[in-house]
Symmetry: none
Subunit: 137 residues, 4 copies
C-alpha cells in the first residue's frame, strides 16, 4: 500500500483566493479551478464577467497539469505540429488543454499532488494569474 | 432586449458556505455547485472525503434545477415510468439529474435566476444540505 | 432514383408561428422546432421565459417523431418497462424522446416528410401546442 | 445578484431575418442561429438548400462568439499552431468553432449579451452574412 499527498479543500480555497486577487489586480476576470492528486475537481470559481467558455477550460487546464505533471504552457510547445506530443489533445475525451494557464501543484516531498488552471484572459494574463495562485499553495 | 437577474460569484459563495456548514453538521461530506441564469457554473466545492463521482452530479443537479425551473426531487416523481416526463433524463446530453438535491434559486422578482446542486450523501441528506444552501440566497 | 417531399423553411415558419400563438394563448412559454424528411433541424424558436433545458428536448421530439414516423406521446406507451420498445431511448445518442410533444408531419401523398416538437410545459400543454403547430402544416 | 441584459426572441428574429436577406442577395443559402447571454439557443433557421452539416456549426459559432466574447474569425487567427489559443477548440465538448461566421452581440451598455452564427458558404460569405445579421441587432 502507498501513502499519497493530495490537495484538501482548504488548500484549494487558498490557491483560488490568490488567483482571484491577482486576476482583479491585472483586470482579467478569470475562472480558477483546482484538482487533486486524482485529477478530480476540488473547487472552482468564475469571477463576474469572466468568459463562460472558460469554465471548462480552467477545469481542464488543472486536469492536464496534473495528468501529465506539467505546465500546460510547456505542453503547448511539445504538442505543436511536428513535435513529439502533437495530437495529445485528442486523448482523454477533450480534457487535455495545450495552452498556457495550468500548473501542477507540488507536495512536501516534491511530488505532484494536484493542479491549478486559470482561464479568462490572454495566455500571458492566464499565466500571471496561475503563477500567483500556485504560489499560495 | 431583456433585462434578467442572475447569480453573482458572491451569492454563489454565500450559498455554498451555508451548504457546507449544514453538510458538516449532519456529517455528510458533499459537493456543492451553483449555476447562473444561463445554467453555467459559477462556483463549486468538494469537501474532503466527499464522493468523486458526485462532482459531476452536483453540477448537473444545479443545471437541471435551472434548466426546468424545478426541484430535482420533484422531477424524480414526474419522470418515473408512466409519468409525464419519463425519459427526460435522456435529453441534454446526460446533464439532467432526476433525484433529490437540486433546487432553483429565485431572484427579487420571483423569477428563477440560477440553481444549486448538492451531491455526496443519501437523497435525504442531499436535500437537507441543498435547502440550507438555498436559504442563504 | 426517388422523389421525396420534405419541409421547406416557409412551412417550418408557418408551423412554428401556429405553435407560438397557441402557446401564448394557454400561457405556456415553449420551444418549438421543426425537422425535415432527413430528421435535420429546419427552424427553432425559444419563447421568452421558456425552459432552457427544453431547447434540446423540442429539437429531439421533432427528430423522434420523424425518425419513427410516430407521435412521441404514443411512443411513451410502447417504451414503458415491459413494453415492446422499452429501451429505445438508449438508441440514437440520446436523441429519442419518449414523452408527449412531438408529431410527424405528413405530405400530400400521406408520407411523413418531417416532424415538429414542442417543449416547455406539462405533457398535456406541450401536446396542445404541438397539435396546433401541426395543424398549420 | 446582478442585472444583465440578454437577447429576446424578437431580437433574434430581427437578426436572423437580416442575415437571411443578405444570404439571399449573395446567393449563399445559410443556417443562421442566435444564442442569448447564457450561450443557449434562442432561434435558428436553415434556408432551403443550405448545408445540413452547417446546422450544428451555425449554432456553435453563435455559442463560441458569446462564450469568449469574440469574433470566431479573430479566434481563427489566435488558435493557429504556435499561437496563444492553439488547442482551444478541444474544449467545451466540440462546441468551439474557430473559423469565420460568428459574432458577439452587444447590449446597450456595451456588454456582450449574446451571439450570432452563420454557416453555409465560404468563410468570406458567412462573414458577410453574419455582419448583416449583427447590424440588425
Amino acid at each position: 500500500m502507498r501513502q499519497v499527498e493530495t490537495v484538501a479543500l482548504d488548500d484549494a480555497r487558498r490557491v483560488i483566493a490568490a488567483g482571484e486577487q491577482k486576476a482583479r489586480e491585472i483586470g482579467s476576470p478569470s475562472n480558477v479551478a483546482v484538482v487533486d492528486a486524482g485529477g478530480n475537481l476540488v473547487a472552482h470559481i468564475r469571477m463576474d464577467d469572466a468568459w463562460m467558455g472558460s469554465i471548462d477550460i480552467s477545469i481542464n487546464k488543472a486536469f492536464t497539469a496534473r495528468a501529465f505533471d506539467t505546465s500546460t504552457g510547456d505542453l503547448a510547445t511539445s504538442s505543436q505540429p511536428g513535435e513529439q506530443f502533437y495530437g495529445i489533445s485528442d486523448s482523454n475525451h477533450g480534457r487535455v488543454m495545450i495552452f498556457a494557464g495550468g500548473l501542477p501543484l507540488h507536495g512536501n516531498n516534491g511530488n505532484v499532488v494536484g493542479g491549478v488552471g486559470v482561464s479568462g484572459g490572454s495566455g500571458e494574463q492566464d499565466q500571471i494569474v496561475v503563477e500567483a495562485a500556485k504560489a499560495a499553495f
